[in-house]
């Protein structure tokens, strides 16, 4: 590259970095406050004005949160449920998205429309009918019951997202496989899935997060304290008259760790160059 170009590129990169850093700071400030408060002792009230430097920092809140009342068990429960939900949700929704994106069949519009409606209905309103259904299915107070319902709740969004990605994959590649005699399942497995790794990773992250953070449904169907999930544990630190903010924030930060771990692990899927080679215009 020519010398002038190098300087310009560096300036561009520098400019981008500045913008991104500024944005990241704005994003981070509330977090910084959470982190700081989680190290404060006995933070029953949030001080006014906000103090960003704790007087006597302590890790007591983290110890307290983790060792309180089955917290570690709730953590494991949430992890199990989230992982299973992610696997099933990604599998089932990618199959559905493949069908919607690649096949023509009677009822395609209708079925997709129904899927969309499922997206648009506020879940709060379905609480009681779903509770009655769960009772009929014997899915109450059970982690597998949670997986069952969570998978279903994630299907619409995931299918919608994956369908738009699948539609972008040019048909020529697939038609080549058809000519070679490959059936739909083979096409799905060998072509579509590998090519849409960024999308699958995205959908995986979303499903994991949705299941990990889900509160209302878990609160409704789970009564056995041994089967509780993490969001309830965090909310239990909020009392009727006062809230232990240090504990709440410490617990929340503990809860963020796995999601970030999954996110970082899946980030490698967002590598450009994998797709550009295969998709010749």
């Amino acid at each position: 590259m020519v010398g002038g170009n190098v300087r310009r590129t560096r300036a561009i990169v520098g400019g981008r970095l500045t913008l991104l850093t500024a944005g990241a700071i704005v994003m981070i400030v509330p977090f910084a406050y959470m982190v700081v408060t989680s190290f404060k002792q006995n933070a029953l009230v949030l001080e006014i004005p906000p103090q960003f430097i704790p007087h006597h920092p302590t890790t007591a809140n983290y110890h307290g949160a983790w060792s309180s009342n089955h917290f570690s068990r709730y953590f494991v429960n949430s992890l199990v449920v989230a992982v299973c939900t992610t696997v099933f949700a990604v599998l089932l929704s990618s199959m559905m998205a493949f069908a919607f994106a690649r096949f023509r069949f009677p009822g395609r519009r209708l079925l997709f429309g129904l899927l969309l409606i499922g997206l648009m209905v506020p879940t709060m309103m379905l609480l009681i009918p779903q509770f009655l259904l769960a009772r009929q299915l014997g899915a109450l107070d059970s982690l597998w019951g949670l997986v069952f319902f969570y998978t279903a709740m994630n299907l619409a969004l995931n299918t919608f997202l994956l369908r738009s990605f699948f539609q972008d994959i040019p048909r020529e590649l697939e038609e080549a496989m058809v000519v070679d005699g490959a059936g739909p399942w083979t096409r799905y497995r060998r072509l579509i899935l590998p090519l849409s790794r960024p999308a699958l990773a995205t959908v995986g992250i979303f499903s994991f997060l949705a299941s990990w953070d889900e509160y209302v449904w878990a609160l409704t169907v789970i009564n056995d304290p041994n089967r509780r999930t993490l969001p309830i544990a965090i909310t239990l630190f909020q009392g009727q008259h006062s809230t232990s903010w240090g504990l709440v924030f410490a617990a929340s930060l503990i809860a963020i760790v796995p999601v970030i771990a999954i996110f970082v692990a899946f980030q490698r899927q967002f590598v450009s160059g994998i797709t550009s080679g295969a998709l010749k215009a």
Partner: protein, 417 residues
């Protein structure tokens, strides 16, 4: 690709194994004994739940072999929603520590067991508890629960702020409230801060003024809520607000200076609150001492509002006898005393002296609760409270006069009763 697949299968395998293991573990101990499920809303790091689980329940299970008490804590803000869903789905537990304002609603839905019929010793139990809290369990001729713990609001103030306001004593009457508020304003402080206009906030003033929300049988509000005395009680506060002697958090918006923060910062002198305020100040606002006194008396005396929780038994419970036993246990002196040490005010008339020994500040609360009144026990209380809150806020804002606001509120409440 193969490595990824292996990883996925491995994770799945671990997950299945773990869940299978945990699923199996639970079944064994519950088989031979009777299990009573007890829902409550204690926060998970609070002293109450620790005492319940580590002291009270083990003692009960020791003296009642064959019974296991399973307590399930549900966040307070969600307990009502969970109860409602459980009602719809027919999945209620045996016992619930229910907020007193929900008992008539649950009773009206037919999901509670009338204890005066189900427990032969109910009359005796009834006589051991304060009448105010007991009345919260009454609906259409029957009692559907027993009080478990109670509280009320007293006039809590910071002596340091009092002095800074140029006062030597807290107000004891309506007249003193008015004049002291002016004195405090001159020194740049608010004498009395109230954080909303709902029933819990303002009913003590209506009652102390000699008015009331409804008639004695809770069937009519017109003529009572908008009676001259009720209006006078509210008008006193509205005048304080209009004169700038009450902070604007009374309008209910979030974001203003809360009562605790205001008192600890020396901007407010006093507020009405329950016994938890002392525990919270001791833990979080160590530099501010507070003291309590009875609510300033008006023409109706010094009357406060009853809060607290009742313990109720569900109609669908399959272990009613065992559940009733646990209820009796929770209402006995020993258990009540234990919970009192954890900060829950007892409902037993006999434990007065013990209570004061545990925490001296209970003395004022005991005095106040002797004649404290419950909010209207009716399933429609949430709607009524909503009407009150909206209309009274309009009166404070000045959109309507106090008389107009209370007139229209009374009419709306009539429709709900």
């Amino acid at each position: 690709m193969r490595r990824n697949r292996m990883l996925v299968l491995l994770v799945l395998g671990v997950v299945v194994a773990v869940s299978a293991a945990t699923a199996g573990a639970r079944v064994t101990d519950a088989k031979k004994k009777t299990t009573i499920t007890f829902w409550n809303a204690y926060s998970s790091d609070g002293p109450e739940v620790k005492r319940l689980e580590k002291v009270i329940i083990p003692q009960y299970e020791k003296t009642h072999p064959g019974v296991i008490v399973k307590d399930v804590a549900i966040p307070y803000d969600d307990l009502h929603q969970k109860l409602v869903t459980a009602v719809a789905g027919g999945q209620l537990p045996d016992l619930v520590r229910s907020d007193i304002i929900w008992v008539p609603e649950l009773a009206n839905l037919g999901v509670l067991e009338p204890l005066d019929k189900a427990m032969p010793d109910f009359k005796k139990l009834k006589s051991t508890v304060y009448p105010g809290p007991l009345a919260t369990n009454y609906w259409k001729g029957h009692y559907y629960g027993l009080p478990l713990d109670t509280n009320t609001r007293t006039f809590n103030y910071s002596p340091a702020a009092l002095r800074a306001a140029g006062l030597s004593r807290p107000p004891k009457t309506f007249a003193q409230l008015k004049s002291y508020a002016a004195t405090a304003k001159a020194k740049g402080l608010y004498l009395y801060a109230e954080s909303g206009t709902s029933g819990w906030n303002l009913l003590p003033w209506i009652w102390s003024a000699g008015g009331s929300l409804t008639n004695r049988s809770y069937t009519k509000a017109s003529g009572y809520l908008n009676s001259r005395k009720s209006v006078a009680g509210i008008r006193m506060l509205v005048d304080l607000y209009k004169a700038g002697e009450m902070p604007n958090i009374v309008l209910g918006g979030n974001g203003g200076l809360g009562t605790y923060d205001g008192i600890s910062q020396g901007k407010y002198v006093a507020t009405l609150d329950g016994p938890w305020m002392f525990a919270i100040f001791a833990a979080a606002f160590k530099n501010t001492k507070i003291a309590g006194t009875t609510i300033p008396a008006g023409p109706g005396g010094s009357v406060s509002v009853v809060g607290g929780e009742d313990i109720v038994m569900t109609h669908s419970s399959k272990n009613k006898a065992a559940a009733a036993d646990f209820m009796r246990f929770m209402l006995k002196g020993w258990a009540q005393n234990e919970m009192a040490r954890a900060g829950q005010m007892t409902v037993l008339k006999s434990l007065t002296k013990q209570l004061i020994k545990i925490h001296p500040y209970y003395a004022v609360y005991l005095k106040q609760i002797a004649n404290a009144r419950p909010r209207t026990p009716t399933p429609k209380w949430p709607q009524i409270d909503q009407v009150l809150e909206t209309k009274l806020a309009k009166a404070f804002k000045g959109d309507e006069t106090v008389q107009q606001a209370l007139d229209s509120a009374a009419k709306q409440i009539d429709g709900l009763l």
